[in-house]
Amino acid sequence: MKYGKIKTGLIIGVIILALYSLYPTYQLYNSIPKREQSLRHLLKTAGSKDDSIRLESELAELEAEKVRLHKRALHLGLDLVGGMHLVLEVDKSKLAKGEVRDVADRAQEIIKNRIDQFGIFEPVIQKLSEDRILVQLPGVDRARAKSIIGQTAQLEFRLVAEERVTAEVLKRIDDYFKRQAAGDTTKERNFLSYLIDIGRIEQGVDEADLPVFMRMLKEVDTIINPPSRPERDQYEFLFGPLENYQGRRIRRLYLLKKTVELTGKEIASARVDNYAGSDVNLTNTWIVSLKLNREATRTFASITGRNIGRRLAIVLDGTVRSAPIIQERIPSGEAMITTGDVNPDKARDLAIVIRSGSLPAPVFIAEERSVGPTLGLDAINKGIKSAAIGAILVIIFMLIYYRLFGLIADFAILFNVLFTLAILASLRATLTLPGLAGIALTIGMGVDSNILIFERIREELRWGKTIRTAIEQGFQRALKTIIDANITTIITAAVLYFFGTGPIKGFAITLTFGLLINLFTAVFLTKFVADGILTQFEFKSLPI
């Protein structure tokens, strides 16, 4: 037992290291939230204003502490914390050949920009391949985040066709369809019947009629733009966003010039503001107020100067967001997009998207795994509860079946879990729900090592060996078998790590490390404690 003191020292040292590396996790998820709760409670019942201020600053400090701890604590997966996991794919179909290669980089830049503005804690934005981007956002309003990320955000300023031009085109189309129908008066072919009058000059189409209407428009493209007409005089029908009008859901119809006067690239800034105009329907709603850069301001001034009385449409991703009448020449390069919403969220999100610039190509969701916060919490509870119940049952079993040695084995397995979590924390690995299952499985499979040893010891005792010899033989014979027995499981776990998706990687990591560490705890730790106990106490018969 020469090395007894060194061994003891080493083991205690390792235990302290493990506890130290896990302390931040304990603070972040346990002690700090408790302090926060009690502080908040005190805040509610605070006496003086000074007290309130003091408490608030303490709470702010705790927030900052949490941010610092996040770097050193165990990282919880999205399936436990709640949040969004997206793999976005870039639609390269409409791109020019040269642009294809760095489109994912540019898209990633822009998406990162938008997410930064949205203000999410610890987002992950990563380029996966030439056309795929990974986005992971913990604890976020998923609908808003998705719309911010996914919006192409192509902004265009285009002139709306004059009233008489619009009326003429509509009539021509109607004539065409009437000719086509040749006397058949069903609604199908009565083009003008789809239009709903809004106010004096505008029209809209009912949501339900849109598919048919749009198909009809496609049919008459050459009527809208006769081939003889030059490019710069061509027009296009576009719609406004869905809105409520007299109890129906409609979209307004606009005839726009195809020429783009200004684009989003020319915008210097986009700010959220209260509507301060004359339209009574829009009081108390929020708008995005745009400011163009210097070049564009000049262009804008000349366009507005030349087209007083006409309407200038602001088109976002093919939808006409607003089409105000140009009352006068606008030298300030300012314009606004109304949202018609008393909730500032839409305006904020729009501003974010305009500020970050438009995506080089549309992106769509190729894969999504999102968990709401309710379910996330539920998953944590279930995960911890089931792992704990399982662990306790196994521990009790070992205790009953192997008595004193069962107790030693139980300690070994607890240290096994402790060390595994410590390594996870120091590697900044992510603990997922399957990861918890992996830890539970480590417990179930890990005790096997001790079972192997103890059964061997029992056998040696039955064959009449002395207590000391039985123990030595038991441990010695078993080591090789234990390594063997766990290696195949470790091999398959390693394969799972390389080929598995996120949560399964978590399982593979906890199982692999759990079993590797088990080699140490089940053999050396257990033997060490067993030897220690034997030197202290004399046993007539071994409590195993």
Binding site: S370, D448, T492
Partner: protein, 300 residues
């Protein structure tokens, strides 16, 4: 000391005929089940599609929800009741809704308009696009092949030829019986289930190693002994350890299967069955095959 398995002397090898029959029945049942059900119940990880777990504060009829979804133009949706009237699981196929639009966002929008006093929350949402679905299929297959290959390499090092081959056969046996279990109980095959299968493949070899080690030890010790007696002795000697190991692992997987959250439950169910079949095959299949092999082609 407590001993669950006292000095037993069960004639495993003598009764091996029954084991062969049992295994054959199970595997056969699996094949029939696969044929009748046309393959396995693959989850969206492999087929692609969208699954939404949606929860309402007040009761809503399944038919109403279904009606709304059909109104969105989606034909092949399945709406399952999770919590009668309050929680539902909606599943749509990969091409049921146009790419680039969000089915869940649109669904929420429409539900908000139709039932303004019953605003639902989407608890969980998973979408797998067709391209990624295919990639996951491919990667899973590769993972299984490499996993098996890794095990085979290890087995060829560790065992002698006959035991090695028998271990591999028992491994295949376990894979087939587990697939039978998955097919019979209609377990949705998603990535966690495949992970369970892979883990079982690794775990199944463990017990085989312990048995074969003991056989080799006994061959050295009892040179004169009849092979059948020797095999039986070896199995009976390790029986205690083998059953106990399965019990502790089974405790964990059964608890997980009962109390765990959705994905973990399926994983744990497959693992539980895999542990049982893995133990059974290590006790029986390995030695039975080695014995019959020895009978047909004696060498030692």
């Amino acid at each position: 000391m407590i001993r669950l398995i006292k000095d037993t002397n069960i004639d495993f090898i003598g009764k091996r005929k029954y084991a062969y029959i049992l295994s054959a029945i199970i595997i056969f049942a699996g094949i029939i089940s696969l044929i009748i059900k046309r393959g396995l119940n693959y989850g969206i990880d492999f087929t692609g599609g969208t699954i939404i777990h949606i929860s309402f504060p007040s009761k809503i009829e399944t038919e109403d929800l279904r009606g709304v979804i059909e109104g969105m133009g989606v034909r092949g949706a399945t709406v399952q009741k999770y919590l009668e009237g309050y929680e539902f699981i909606v599943k749509i196929g990969p091409s049921d809704y146009p790419k680039g639009t969000s089915f869940s966002a649109d669904l929420l929008e429409i539900l908000k308009n139709k039932f303004p006093n019953n605003l639902p929350e989407i608890l969980k949402e998973e979408t797998v696009g067709p391209r990624i679905g295919k990639e996951l299929q491919r990667n899973t297959l590769i993972a299984l092949i490499i996993g098996l290959f890794g095990i085979l390499v290890y087995v060829s090092f560790r065992f002698d030829f006959r035991f090695g081959t028998s271990a591999v056969i028992s491994l295949l046996h376990d894979t087939l019986t587990t697939i039978t279990y998955i097919s019979l109980f209609n377990i949705t095959v998603n990535i966690p289930v495949v992970a369970a299968l892979l883990t079982i493949i690794g775990y199944s070899v463990n017990d085989s190693i312990v048995v074969s080690d003991r056989v080799r030890e006994n061959i050295k010790k009892f040179r004169k002994e009849n092979f059948l007696t020797l095999l039986n002795r070896s199995i009976n000697e390790v029986l205690s350890r083998t059953t106990l190991t399965s019990i502790t692992a089974l405790i964990i997987t059964v608890i997980l299967a009962i109390f765990g959250a959705a994905d973990i439950r399926d994983f744990a169910r497959v693992m539980s069955f895999g542990i049982i079949t893995g133990t059974y095959s290590s006790i029986y299949v390995v030695c039975a095959i080695v014995y019959d092999w020895q009978q047909r082609f004696p060498n030692r």
